[in-house]
């Protein structure tokens, strides 16, 4: 009987048995929605992984070509439904770029405020679900408890808990309600100690480290090649954040803000934070680093929110009304990428001068981040697949669009 040649890196030659094709998803607890992963496994070892997507395809781009930009806002925040504010912002700013609209100071700070709050919410879901992927249930509930408070703040702000439609092209639907800032401050103050708890139960937990360190190592080159962005890119040690390095249209929003881009450069994270040190087992670009980057970004977002609240309170002007529902668009093309919690989300509009864009294109961060999963999972164990996929922090609404 002829023996098939196998890659000795993957499986010990003698131990090789028949391969099994196995479907992980679309109904699987840890594929974060309706992702289907086709695993080619040899025992517990995964030799190949193919992500199959499209179970949540809702023709978002086509819808965008039949609606005016303001009408599309509710569709935008259903893309990455865990960070609706950031999706709204991406879309609104792309439209504003086309129209040449410059947001006022008050609007700018307000947008920073809600977007960074939503970034915390998104990262909390990422951290909690990651714990769940690794079998730790409690941090998940703790994360959702804190996220709930953010959602309550947003509910007070715009009446919705997930799909806000709050940031619209040319402004926001309404200014902050009275007393909102005080609530937000209270939340931040009470949230800060919870971060330590999450670090204790996850980041510095020995089992967590063993499950994530040196698993799914993504080299900086590969990350750039695959177009990975956001915490996935920064987890590989690439110092790149659109809030600092993006287009002027976007970075203008963060002008005057002090924050650090979280990435390990020259073997060191930017700030000596009072958070657990990098364990010896961790390798740059592994699951642990991706998780750690998110946890540190939460702290940066809190810093940004505090600054934004201060700057916002100093402005006294009345917010302008957003653009009209069927305002005619400028003829031309505009493409803008913004730093959403999960990576760079880009919106492109091509307009022929009518109120409805002629073409809408959405660049999804999760889509690019997921594309690297096959590389990361090759040769790992089945138990590592949720660990890798979870560390990429994907959301299917954005991938399928």
């Amino acid at each position: 009987m002829p023996v098939e040649r196998v890659d000795p890196d993957l499986v010990e030659f003698d131990l090789r048995s028949d391969e099994m094709l196995i479907n992980m998803g679309p109904q699987h607890p840890s594929t974060h929605g309706v992702l289907r992963l086709v695993l080619r496994t040899d025992g517990e070892v995964v030799s190949d992984l193919t992500p199959n997507i499209g179970y949540l395809h809702r023709c978002a781009e086509k819808i965008g070509e039949n609606l005016s930009p303001r009408q599309f806002v509710p569709y935008a925040d259903r893309l990455d439904y865990l960070a609706g504010m950031n999706m709204d912002l991406g879309w609104s700013m792309a439209v504003e770029k086309l129209l040449g609209f410059v947001p006022s100071e008050r609007l700018r700070h307000l947008r920073v405020l809600v977007c960074e709050l939503d970034r915390i919410a998104s990262h909390l879901v990422a951290a909690g679900c990651y714990g769940l992927d690794l079998g730790s249930f409690t941090p998940f509930v703790w994360c959702f408890r804190e996220r709930e408070r953010i959602l309550l703040l947003f509910e007070e702000l715009c009446g919705a808990r997930l799909t806000y439609s709050y940031i619209t092209p040319g402004g926001v639907t309404s200014d902050l309600p009275k007393g909102w800032l005080k609530n937000c401050e209270k939340f931040l103050a009470e949230f800060e100690p919870v971060i330590d708890e999450l670090h204790a139960t996850l980041t510095s937990n020995s089992i967590f480290i063993h499950r994530t360190a040196n698993i799914g190592v993504l080299s900086p080159e590969m990350a750039v090649d695959y177009g990975c962005t956001g915490p996935v890119l920064r987890g590989s040690g690439v110092d790149w954040d659109l809030r600092r390095d993006g287009e002027p249209v976007y970075t203008r929003m963060y002008e005057g803000y002090k924050f650090e881009v979280i990435a390990q450069v020259k073997g060191k994270y930017p700030e000596d934070l009072p958070y657990p040190a990098v364990p010896r087992e961790a390798v740059l670009g592994d699951c642990w680093h991706r998780f750690y980057v998110r946890m540190l970004e939460v702290v940066q977002s809190m810093k940004l929110i505090r600054q934004a609240m201060e700057k916002y309170s100093q402005t006294k002007e009345v917010l302008a009304e957003p653009i009209k529902l069927r305002q005619k668009l400028t003829v031309g093309t505009a493409y803008l990428e913004t730093e959403a919690p999960k990576g760079q989300t880009g919106f492109m509009l091509i307009s022929d001068g009518s109120p409805v864009p002629w073409r809408v294109r959405i660049r999804s961060s999760s889509f690019c981040n997921l594309s690297v999963s096959a590389e990361l999972c090759r040769g790992c164990l089945i138990a590592d697949v949720p660990a890798v996929i979870g560390s990429l922090d994907i959301v299917l609404g954005e991938i399928d669009r």
Binding site: M20, I22, H28, P29, S30, G43, E44, G131, L132, D133, L134, G135, S136, F137, T138, V141, W142, R145, T201, L202, N205, I207, F208, H210, R211, L381, I382, A383, D384, V385, P386
Partner: protein
């Protein structure tokens, strides 16, 4: 209990029933099984409620609050009812017979060991001299049901769960067995009643006080957690990886069988740990002795003392289960290779060291470090069978200079006659001369009793066995 049953039967006019040997045996057996099932099932039901409440509290939630008042204590009943009402589903690809048999196999394997588990002195369905071995052996059968379930389900995820279970069993059962051997070695017997009795007295007489046993206890708890497939070792049913592992295709009542088996096994191993390491029914404080609830004050006192002891044992078991729940809701799950590393690379060598350490400590220190030398006073009592007083005279001997001399400690003497096994006889230690080490007597204790008269074997609290010749007739 047997006499009480006879009375009841007489009352019903069924006296003839008691005359039928096999029938009588069957009735007694059934009643005992019913009692054990009732006790364990009640505990399991409480555990499911407790798990939900504890996880709720850990996670800043309330847990069940609706069914059964404020604390939702009727939740297990509601859950059970729901499970019974669910569709009885067997997947088309499953092997019908094996698929149906697997849950019951697991269930039986998880409940049968209770037959050998003493809850108080004499309160055991089937007294066994090899109870510790029996419990491990039957408890180990649980894995067959799991592997069978995974194999028969016809699902790839189930198969993975079954394979993981097989790998995990190989890893944890070896250190678990070694951990059980340590207290067995200290006691010189596998009889759980005796192991527990030898730890009578204050907290200091527990096996746990011995540093080797203390470390062994922690290894035991780790292995017990792995043995019951509880997080962080819940790989066979790893939710986030294998959907539900070997239970993926199960639903309704069959699923609840696995569920009950898991909780029953948790309780079993916690109880076994309490018996082996934590004094069994002997609380940290000898409350029963303090309250004169000992056999010499009558049957009711003995019953009350036993009941107190059982409560103490069950409390310890519940604490062990709570510890496992606490672990589950705190820690992430290990990977399969890490489970095997933990069990084989760390637990086995550590358990081996503890085993050797215990042996050395027993031989060097004669009874280890744990047991203070403290005679327990017991008045003489009539021999049940002959109605005559037992009089003991223990000859003095010479202690070997190498070994520490120690007096008799045990509260009870077990007398052994041919064919009847061990039975406790109370004696007055205070009136007895302090026995000394007698090499020749020790030698004879290893053989079966030779004379037609009774030969007394007094079990020391530790390893050594004294055999004493008795003067006068009983």
């Amino acid at each position: 209990m047997a006499q009480a049953l006879i009375n009841i039967l007489d009352h019903w006019g069924l006296h003839g029933l008691a005359q039928q040997g096999w029938l009588w045996y069957l009735v007694v057996g059934l009643v005992q099984v019913a009692l054990i099932l009732a006790l364990v099932m009640t505990c399991v039901a409480v555990y499911t409620w407790m798990e939900r409440k504890i996880s709720g509290r850990i996670q800043d939630r309330l847990g069940p609050t609706r069914v059964g008042g404020r604390f939702g204590w009727l939740q297990p009943a509601a859950d059970g009812l729901k499970l019974l009402c669910k569709e009885d589903l067997v997947p088309a690809a499953a092997d019908g017979l094996l698929f149906r048999a697997a849950p019951y196999l697991t269930f039986c394997a998880a409940f049968i060991p209770y037959l050998a588990l003493p809850f108080a002195p004499g309160w055991v369905v089937q007294p066994m001299d090899t109870a510790a071995f029996f419990i491990l052996a039957i408890g180990g059968l649980e894995v067959f049901g799991v592997i069978l379930a995974g194999y028969a389900s016809g699902s790839k995820w189930s198969l993975y769960g079954a394979m993981r279970e097989a790998a995990q069993v190989v890893s944890f059962e070896i250190p678990l067995g070694m951990c059980v051997v340590v207290p067995v070695l200290m006691a010189g017997t596998m009889n759980l009643t005796e192991i527990a009795q030898q730890q009578a007295g204050w907290l200091t007489s527990w096996n746990l006080v011995n540093p080797f046993a203390l470390v062994t206890f922690f290894i035991y708890m780790v292995c017990a957690t792995a043995g019951t497939n509880r997080a962080p070792f819940d790989l066979p049913e790893a939710e986030s990886e294998l959907v539900a592992g070997f239970m993926t295709e199960y639903s309704g009542f069959r699923w609840s069988m696995f569920f009950m088996a898991e909780y029953s096994a948790m309780f079993l191993l916690a109880l076994l740990g309490a018996l082996l390491f934590c004094g069994g029914w002997n609380g940290p404080i000898p409350v029963a002795t303090m309250l004169w609830l000992t056999p010499e004050y009558g049957d009711i006192a003995a019953f009350a003392g036993n009941f107190l002891g059982m409560c103490s044992l069950i409390t310890k078991g519940v604490l062990g289960v709570i510890f496992m729940m606490w672990l589950r809701w705190t820690l992430p799950r290990l990977r399969i290779d890490q489970v095997m590393t933990t069990c084989l690379k760390y637990c086995v060598p550590l358990a081996s060291i503890m085993l050797v350490g215990t042996m050395v400590s027993i031989f060097v220190l004669r009874g280890g470090l744990s047991h203070p030398i403290k005679p327990v006073e017991m008045p003489a009592k009539q021999n049940q069978r002959t109605g005559r007083d037992c009089k003991l005279k223990i000859r003095e001997g010479h202690a070997s200079p190498l070994l520490l001399r120690r007096p008799m400690v045990c509260g009870k003497i077990f007398w052994q006659s041919r064919g009847t096994g061990f039975q406790p006889v109370e004696f007055d230690a205070g009136k007895m001369p302090v026995p000394r080490w007698r090499p020749s007597a020790r030698k004879s204790s290893h053989t079966r009793p030779q004379s037609s008269n009774f030969q007394f074997s007094i079990f020391n609290s530790q390893f050594s066995i004294f055999s004493l010749s008795r003067e006068g007739a009983c």
